[in-house]
Symmetry: C2
Subunit: 346 residues, 2 copies
Amino acid sequence: MIAKPTVNDVARVAGVSLATVDRVLNERPGVRAATIEKVNRAIAELAYVRDTAAANLARSKTYRFAFVLPDWKGQFFASLMGSIEEVAAQAHLDRTEIRTILVPNHDHTFLVRELDALGPDEIDGLAIMSKETPVVRDAIIRLRRRGISVVTLITDQLGSERDHFVGIDNVAAGRTAGMLMGRFLAGRQGKVLVVVSSRQSRDMLERRHGFDQILGEQFDHLNAQPSIEGHEDPGYTEAVVLTALDQYRDVVGIYSAGASVLGVAGAIAKHNFHGRPIFIDHELTDNSAHFIREGVLDAVITQNTGHLARSALRVLRAKCDNKPVIASQENIRIDIVIRENLPTMK
Amino acid sequence: MIAKPTVNDVARVAGVSLATVDRVLNERPGVRAATIEKVNRAIAELAYVRDTAAANLARSKTYRFAFVLPDWKGQFFASLMGSIEEVAAQAHLDRTEIRTILVPNHDHTFLVRELDALGPDEIDGLAIMSKETPVVRDAIIRLRRRGISVVTLITDQLGSERDHFVGIDNVAAGRTAGMLMGRFLAGRQGKVLVVVSSRQSRDMLERRHGFDQILGEQFDHLNAQPSIEGHEDPGYTEAVVLTALDQYRDVVGIYSAGASVLGVAGAIAKHNFHGRPIFIDHELTDNSAHFIREGVLDAVITQNTGHLARSALRVLRAKCDNKPVIASQENIRIDIVIRENLPTMK
DNA sequence: CTGAAAGCGCTTACAG
DNA sequence: CTGAAAGCGCTTACAG
């Protein structure tokens, strides 16, 4: 086994000092083109690869990242927070500081003010989860101009020139939900209720769009109704779903495209169905896991919060180190969970 | 922000030298109990946490791991190899050497000889994928006695006292397959063919067992036939499946519990079905992805090779560093893939 | 049983 | 534009 070449080897072969090698390595100014050339030749010849861990140690560098999130109360969000904390604890041993900035939900003025206050002297990168809006998009553009890496988390911000999006394709997620709905209904005819937290959220729109695509293409005996808004309020959701169930007498399936599982499950328990409706929800949480075990919920389409948090961290680190992102590794999967493949641990 | 305490701080507070702190930290012998006590008090007081990266640098330590695998030719295996190579390339930057030891399939004598030849002077940890057999189990016990960490990969070795198992619960995977089979068949009655690579493989037995459980519990109008062996030979598999299809005239579903997708798909194409059969397979590969897109294959139960490889590496590193394994992070999921959530990238 | 000094692979001021 | 020396947080011989 050949020992890995170090900066010393490069310096020796190139006939320059360590400092010069370092300058070339880090593309610092003030080196003659000829010298750069010599060093690069030595690097190529030795197949030198920089030891990032040693570099960070020498630099006394700590990566300083923040997760900027709305102050939601839902369980999926709690799980995401848990994953971020887990990642943060681990990262701490790796000279990486991660803090979490909670922003009042829907308060974009506040959010933008927070973002605008962040300078490259206090932060290296940001993972932002926020409703998609032009003001946030513009704040991200400004952050990047200031040299701060930005990844969008779960919800993308179109046109924001963010470095990376960590999350799933929501149209595909909706198609997945639609396919399971169609197949699980096994030929039964009737109406399908669609419940969303908010009709304006792009995530919900995309899921709904994918869902409708599949129903239109392959299950036209199913009749998806206009989206019902639950506004993330279980009591309210239950009430509006019950009203809808009473109004349409032949509902055979319910698609909850986000943050409505408790309310919908409550309504299902109270309504008098002819046959059990097929119920499909998004995001695996303690609540949805419970309803899967109970046999109330048939499938959950979800994304793993651990993967989300770790992917965001890996991407932010790669951006800071100017290293490429390994796309295949960062591709967040659309997970399908039914009772049989429900993870045993949380 | 308070600067993280270092060994220097600990030495100062404890009133000892760096070397002594190091001895206590690494539980090296030859330190008086009273001194150990002093150092530990300082560590506790400062909430000191060792910087593993710096430690490894100082130690010039490289982790030396190996993946020991059978020399299979299938696509799932190729994907696993690809993931291992990806992980190895990344790990290389992190002073971790990963080599792959390919062992002739089913040649346990050879495998055991290889394992017995490995000493702690050349390897720190091993990830082993092999058919479950007592001779391999015993070789693992010997490896661990010699101070080498061992994780079993994909197939566990019962009673081997391995440090960790990286893979899925195959009974649950079989139950998942059974549930999808039952639901996708939507009430159709008839026989279900079960194809395995080998009837003696524990993985196949467990999957079959889980599959039968669900059919027995919830879909007793379906009649699962005795397992057909394909021996990982597409031509042979196609032939035996065709024979079975001709023999039982009312096959409505086919469950391929491992390494048989090509042969089964071939048979499906040639046989004259009344209605399209539901076809469920294990392991996402280029082939199975192709048949999903074509609409021949309805669902694939799989495990992500990237997660497998990364998990194995994380666990081996943790074992070497004497750090705890984060169970929730290492729990390998049973993935369900249908056409709608098929990953776009490889 | 304990400590002073050198070194792991890199970067950072400071000189020149 | 270039280099010699010190230092990042830890460990390793070598003395004592």
